[in-house]
Subunit: 344 residues, 2 copies
DNA sequence: GCTTGGCACTCCCGGCACGCGAGTGCCAAG
DNA sequence: CTTGGCACTCGCGTGCCGGGAGTGCCAAGC
């Protein structure tokens, strides 16, 4: 009972602070939430919560503000699931349904996510590690320049241009192309290196340098660039806070420009305590492994293709955000993107 | 002589304001620049310059600040060309030379431009309108899903996924593929529509629906998406000004998220007074055709491939920027990208 | 033992007055 | 046309003050 009310107080503080962005005091609390007790009682609870590290006051004689720990408790135990509004559901459908290709799906997803959460959105391209090669194409762009194109079952297309030392002979190229198609079709990316080992033996010594540079490039494509691409959108939402809040947006913008950082944010592997129901991951403030994002929270969810998780998407926002609503939105979008990919 | 000194005063004001970001007064002016006259004389000149609209004072008893018109005059008549430092030249080479494909060239260019100008950088992908088709590939992703890939001589790869109503027959697909390759190879994008007219007559009525939807998609690809893609980087630089300057960064970030807006910024067509020597275009403050960017200047340059201009790149920054330095940087990067594309 | 009203205390914040100093415009003399 | 002088304006930083919100503590009550 006692413990219970204390948690109710924490929940009320989080909710009020998220909506007003101002430190919340005991009096305002009893007025807005019908906890059937007096301000003085609340004050006792607040003192206890502060001792335990869930809330803090910016200065004496100010109201309380949740700490990262407070938000963590809120997310783990206090927040219900807030269902999306019908309008939001409709927006998801309308927005994503007329995407014409994978790039378009990704771009639309980013915009959608940014729009409904009013935060910075991140969407990772489907990882290639579990993808299968559908087709390989080699095209000469000039006498010594060659483009290699890998078409993958998720609809993603990878390309690379290489420069050959010797002029390219059309029949060698055709031979190489057809052998590659045979060797690689329906192979997963992780199987490609094996499939190519010893591959150059089939060619004459004269042709091997060219063949080898093509093979090297393909190996690079399937290993290095496994899940490199991430789209970013809605950065303008950062500026909304810029004015009145202790988030310096420059370090955040800087962090968001680094693909490596974005990958760390989305790729989880090491999920410490972050995962909640529905497979949504929440990292709050200092829990983030990234410099410059100490004052932000990151909410991510994986999306899948035929029940195989392929990548993640999510948002970055200030720690004082609407967690239930944002988590629902991220979850719903991830679900819908999964369904969209399944149809393909 | 008189007129001349007045211009020298304007130049000095612009230079000082750009470096200090503070309104500049008559006394500071005579101290820092050796114009051989007294502050009082400068004041007369400043009053005249203000009458003519080249400078303004934020409030009485403050120094002067250049107006958009003042910057315009400065750029048109007063600024010399500031050559790049050897370090910067070296950075350009090192940075761009090991790009592996077109995407990589574009990504590196954006980063480079943002880094050396310390501004937001924009790079447009090579326009497809003058590009030639190198190869067409059709690959079935599933029984009814099909991916169309166009490979273009600039190294750009365009793709689209379509859904067929009937199951795809491999031999029809192969037939269509080889006919498409014959019909489209070495055609420029503008010639593609002609090349495809009546194309479906060669197929049996049963196959025509599929053929037609492929043709429709190809037509869409070569018309709609002519020069759609623009890369953006260095947005963190916006925040540097955020604090102390009258640039609200939110509208700027919002504007920069719209591809359409970016295209308007880079595509010039209607270059009013903006072009200067070296083919660099400068648009200052209100000269910009875009809402939200009234307090910014945009500097762009075209880059070319085999002497055919193919697209533009440039930067967006506050009106009080180092014009000569930034113009040189944009020019140099455009030149270097052109050379890079020529080699291919 | 928890709850509650009372009360003193702290400290942020907005308003105001004040003085400084930078910068200007004007004028009369050179 | 230039220059020194001079009065004037006005933003800005400083210090002061009162109001008010919020707190912690305590003693009384249920």
């Amino acid at each position: 009972m006692l413990e219970e009310r204390r948690l109710a107080v924490l929940r009320a503080i989080v909710e009020d602070y998220v909506s007003t962005h101002e430190p919340v005091g005991s009096k305002a609390l009893v007025e807005r939430h019908h906890l059937g007790v007096s301000p003085a009682t609340i004050r006792n609870d607040m003192a206890a919560l502060e001792d335990e590290g869930y809330i803090a006051q910016p200065h004496t004689s100010a109201g309380r503000v949740p700490t990262d720990l407070g938000y963590r408790l809120f997310v783990d135990r206090l927040s219900g699931v807030k269902p999306l509004s019908p309008a939001e559901r409709r927006a998801i459908h309308q927005f994503l349904d007329d995407a014409v290709d994978l790039d378009d799906v990704m771009a639309r997803t980013v915009r959608l996510l940014a729009q409904i959460t009013k935060q910075v959105a991140l969407v990772q391209y489907p990882s290639l590690s579990r993808s299968r090669v559908r087709h390989v194409e080699l095209v000469a762009l000039s006498s010594t320049r060659l483009i290699i194109v890998l078409i993958v079952d998720s609809g993603r297309v990878e390309q690379r241009i290489i420069e050959c030392t010797a002029p390219i002979q059309e029949q060698v190229l055709a031979d190489l192309r057809s052998r590659l198609i045979v060797a690689l079709s329906d192979k997963t990316f992780t199987d490609v290196p094996d499939a190519l080992s010893g591959f150059d033996q089939a060619f004459t010594p004269d042709d091997r340098p060219m063949v080898r540079s093509v093979l090297a490039s393909i190996l690079e494509m399937v290993t290095e660039r496994l899940d490199e691409r991430i789209m970013l959108g809605g950065t303008a939402h950062l500026a909304r806070y810029g004015e009145s809040f202790p988030i310096a947006i420059q370090p955040v913008l800087e962090a968001l420009e680094e693909q490596v950082v974005l990958l760390r944010l989305l790729g989880e592997a090491n999920v410490p305590q972050g995962v909640t129901q529905q497979g949504v991951t929440v990292r709050i403030g200092h829990e983030n492994p990234v410099e410059g994002l100490e004052a932000t929270s990151v909410i991510t969810a994986r999306y899948a293709r035929r029940d195989q998780p392929v990548a993640s998407l999510g948002i970055v926002g200030p720690t004082h955000m609407d967690y239930p609503g944002t988590m629902s939105a991220v979850h719903a979008v991830a679900q819908y993107v999964s369904r969209l990919l399944d149809e393909q």
